[in-house]
């Protein structure tokens, strides 16, 4: 029985290799092994969306992915959304829209929103709410989050 597996990935555009046990989720690997703690744990069973990351162009809850499954994958986390010190329009929209209170769900929402707007640049309110239904927020009542997503969509289309 090997104890640890060598996993080669690309994270936020940079090659990252790590060692992990098969029982460690990608979420545990990101947080405890690699030190990217921006991806949060709220439930560990795929129902809160705080651990949402993008793997090979599609969003997943990283608590329901084994670290070893990430071999060869390209992963985007909240730490990779901004371009250096230039915030992404979605991040700006969340800031200017006061779309966060405690902020623990924010990384998951931003990663999920980015995937939405890449697929659907001009979503309706219903499409936004549907796409984000797997991301729970307990502070905001979603109002300002939905508006921030609408604002970001507008800004990104104008750009």
């Amino acid at each position: 029985m090997t104890t640890k597996t060598h996993v080669q990935t690309t994270i936020n555009g940079e090659p990252v290799d790590f060692l992990c046990e098969p029982r460690q989720s990608l979420l545990e690997c990101l947080r405890d092994v690699i030190g990217l703690t921006g991806t949060k744990e709220g439930c560990n069973d795929g129902n809160c969306g705080a651990c949402t990351v993008n793997i090979d162009g599609r969003i997943v809850t990283s608590c329901l992915v084994l670290g070893v499954e990430a071999q060869g994958a390209s992963i985007e986390t909240i730490e990779g959304i901004a371009d250096g010190t230039n915030l992404h329009p979605i991040q700006l929209a969340f800031l200017e829209g006061a779309a966060l209170q405690c902020g623990i769900c924010t990384p998951g929402f931003i990663v999920a929103t980015k995937a939405l707007l890449e697929k659907n640049p001009d979503p309706t309110e219903h499409e936004i709410r549907f796409w984000l239904a797997n991301n729970l927020c307990r502070c905001t009542g979603y109002d300002k989050i939905v508006r921030a997503v609408q604002e970001a969509a507008k800004k990104m289309q104008e750009a």
Binding site: G42, L87, Q91, G97, A98, I104, I128, L136, D143
Partner: protein, 760 residues
């Protein structure tokens, strides 16, 4: 950069002569939170960190006969195991937990059970290991023998004759009097105003009904967590998500019997609280494990542990009787309320009693409250604790009364509304309050004026919550470039550090961005009570106001000595110190800052306050909904929240509080509940089955901020964090009635419950 001011969020301002207060700057901690850089409790790491896990009771009520930890200790990778026996023996005493008080013995018993377990999920032992998987494996190797006892899960069961008793030494307390009767009723109190019997005699219309609510959870997204490092020098360091770092510190000092000064608590960013992160759970266990291992130990609860092992808000039974004359004047009202405290005394029934009639000027009122222990987790505060339960009853009864009287429900409320000078049923007299203004804003709101959609129902209700004062401290240091650094001790859950900084900025005449606020550890700022009770922007904001006044005074004095003039001749406005008589004498804060070191040293302002003049806040809701008659499912179509903020320091975050409280209230109304099975076990302890609203379950939530200045605060602030969760459950129940003609008297109004009600 400022935050958005949306059309559907209205501020009815009364005072606009501020430069910073009332504006919408981007929050200081925002960038860290949108980039994933902010460090929350579970993110904390330290050299040599061990991971702790907690073994919990599978029984709702049982004697612990024996605990054998030897096999767990022998497991490879396990570093230490602790149980209640590792706590030092200390005499019992009552502890102030900011706004809650509890017996030290109860707190200790809740953190690690000693002789008895009192609920499923009750912590019994802690394990520290090299990784969390090993720690969890070790839990299954701890052998415990139990003698299972019968349990009680509701106030009815607990108050019944011959009910199993949780605490053999608990007798009913009646306002300072020990009844001497061993009972699950920890406390009974009564408030009386006037003559209720006479009042009901005068009534021409009477409504009388019983309402029931069940246990619900705050549902913060970040589970409880804490890291402890008990250093070889005897100092205990804690990093945790808490609503009150000083409460954590002082509780640990009592539990562990060490001096307060030997403990430093560093509050991390906090992933939601809503009252649930006032009590401590894992921190003492991590501390005991760290003492044994000499290394830092981190414990993070799972979601299931968060449901079963933290503090939800209680289920309750509320009986309401209210009578009025035919012109709508309420002649008498009686509220009988029993609330589940959970495993140890201390339900929010006392607060519920002070809220239930708060919006109304009653000549005759009677309130009975019972604090009842049951075999469920010890309840904790949850946003206006107790008040939503009470309002679910009384605010429905009022609508029933209005219907019988043929009155508009808002008109009925306005006819009886409490104003400045109204004596509450619990005794004290209201100072200036905004209940009337909130009701008037509701009546005039386009939502209330609009035609209902065909088939929709509309409901209204209002709710009340206090502000509390309590201790807050703040330090402000002037920098060489005229900016300031502000340190404070109120952990920031929803943007409060910015609303606090804005109050200092207003005094100093500088921008919010030129004040850099930090929430610091317990070594670094004076005692500050919990972030709770709608007090943070009010009280810590006041401390910031006072500390800024201190800075301002010192700046003027320093300028006076630089110019060699009398300080009384100087003033400071918009960040510029100037002479009242000599227009040549002018100096900006930046210019002063640059000279500080050469003119006597730095300037630091400080303040510790315990303010009075606390105002209360009222919030009203208008809700439109439709019901699928075949499935019983409710769709919220339109929702408006209207709340008195006194003065909204940062309107965007006041709106955020209102929208968030509304969403929690809607969840409470529609689907949230602890499903308990026959063994007293919660069967839905996941975020899949504990159904909090998703983005798809809610409409936009429109807001109106009413500003009836609180005369007790320098800027007129009223705390806004809580009252907004109070009206949604009765407003929705009133809308269900409007839509269907069915009165729902039990929460939640889930689809199955609605259909059952329609049938009967």
């Amino acid at each position: 950069m400022t935050t958005k001011d949306y059309d559907r969020n209205v501020v009815l301002s009364t005072q606009n002569d501020f430069k910073v207060v009332g504006t919408r700057p981007v929050r200081h901690d925002g960038v860290d939170k949108v980039t994933g850089r902010a460090i929350y409790g579970a993110d904390y790491d330290a050299s040599g960190l061990l991971h702790g896990k907690i073994l919990r009771s599978p029984h709702a009520h049982a004697k612990i006969l024996s605990i054998d930890t030897s096999k767990a200790e022998a497991l490879d990778g396990v570093q230490a195991v602790v149980t209640a026996a590792d706590f030092p023996e200390t005499a019992d005493k009552t502890m102030e937990l900011g706004e809650d008080e509890t017996k030290l013995r109860d707190l200790r018993g809740n953190i690690l059970a000693k002789d008895k377990v009192l609920y499923v999920g009750h912590a019994i032992a802690g394990v520290a290991a090299s990784n969390p998987h090993v720690a969890e494996e070790a839990l299954s190797l701890i052998e415990i023998k139990y003698e299972v006892l019968p349990s009680v899960m509701t106030t009815d069961e607990a108050m019944a004759d011959g009910a199993p008793i949780l605490h053999e030494d608990q007798t009913t307390e009646e306002l300072g009097n020990d009844s001497g009767i061993v009972s699950n009723v920890a406390k009974h109190f009564q408030h009386i105003k006037g003559d209720v019997a006479e009042g009901f005699k005068q009534a021409e219309v009477i409504v009388e009904r019983e309402y029931n609510t069940v246990t619900v959870h705050q549902g913060y997204i970040a589970p409880h967590n804490g890291t402890a490092f008990w250093s070889a020098d005897g100092r205990l360091h804690i990093w945790c998500e808490t609503q009150g770092s000083f409460v954590v510190r002082d509780s640990l000092a009592d539990l562990l019997d060490i001096p307060v000064s030997m403990i430093r608590v560093t509050p991390t960013e906090i992933g939601g609280g809503f009252g649930g992160k006032i009590p401590i759970y894992v921190e003492p266990v991590a501390a005991l494990l760290s003492k044994k291992t000499g290394t830092p130990v981190k414990i993070v609860m799972s979601r299931k542990e968060t449901f079963e092992g933290s503090g939800p808000t209680p289920g309750s039974k509320i009986k309401i009787k209210v009578g009025a004359t035919s012109d709508g004047k309420i002649t008498a009202a009686h509220a009988w309320m029993a609330m589940e405290a959970g495993a140890y005394a201390g339900s929010p029934v006392g607060a519920a009693a002070q809220c239930v009639f708060a919006a109304y000027d009653l000549e005759n009122g009677l309130i009975d409250g019972f604090d009842v222990v049951v075999n469920k987790p010890k309840t904790a505060a949850y946003r206006a604790p107790g008040s939503p339960n009470a309002a679910f009853g009384f605010e429905q009864a009022l609508n029933e009364l209005a219907e019988k009287l043929g009155m508009d429900p808002i008109d009925l409320r306005l006819k009886n509304v409490a104003t400045e000078g109204t004596r509450r049923v619990d005794g004290p007299v209201f100072q200036r309050i905004g209940a009337k203004e909130v009701l008037e804003a509701m009546r005039e709101h386009p939502h209330y004026q609009s035609e209902k959609k065909s088939g929709s129902g509309r409901g209204v209700a209002i709710g009340f919550w206090f502000n509390i004062g309590f201790d807050s401290a703040c330090n402000i240091a002037l920098n060489k470039d005229g900016t300031v650094n502000l340190t404070e001790g109120s952990t920031d859950i929803g943007g409060s550090r910015t609303s606090i900084a804005m109050q200092a900025a207003e005094v100093l005449g500088i921008s919010a961005e030129d004040v850099r606020p930090s929430v610091v550890d317990t070594d670094t700022v004076g005692f500050t009570a919990v972030t709770g009770g709608s007090r943070t922007t009010f009280a810590t904001g006041w401390a910031a106001y006072e500390a800024a006044q201190d800075v301002k005074k010192q700046c003027i004095e320093r300028a006076a000595s630089i110019w060699d003039v009398n300080a009384e001749n100087l003033q400071m406005e918009d960040g510029v110190i100037s002479s009242k008589s000599d227009s040549e004498l002018k100096m900006t804060l930046k210019e002063l800052g640059a000279q500080l070191s050469d003119t006597g040293g730095g300037i630091t302002g400080r303040a510790s306050v315990k303010p009075r003049g606390v105002g209360g806040s009222f919030c009203g809701n208008i809700v439109d909904l439709s019901i699928d008659e075949e499935t019983g499912k409710i769709t919220i179509e339109r929702f408006t929240a209207i709340q008195d903020a006194g003065k909204a320091i940062h309107p965007s975050y006041v709106e955020g509080q209102m929208q968030g409280g509304s969403a929690q209230g809607i969840g409470w109304a529609l689907n949230e509940e602890y499903f308990m099975n026959d063994e007293g076990r919660m069967t839905n302890s996941s975020l899949l089955d504990y159904r909090m609203p998703t983005a798809l379950d809610l409409p936009m939530i429109d807001t109106v901020i009413v500003e009836v200045a609180n005369p007790g605060h320098p800027f007129g602030v009223r705390g806004v964090g809580e009252a907004n969760i109070v009206p949604p459950t009765p407003a929705i129940a009133n809308a269900v009635y409007d839509s269907s003609g069915n009165r729902i008297t039990q929460l939640p109004m889930s689809p199955v419950a609605i259909l059952e009600a329609f049938k009967s």
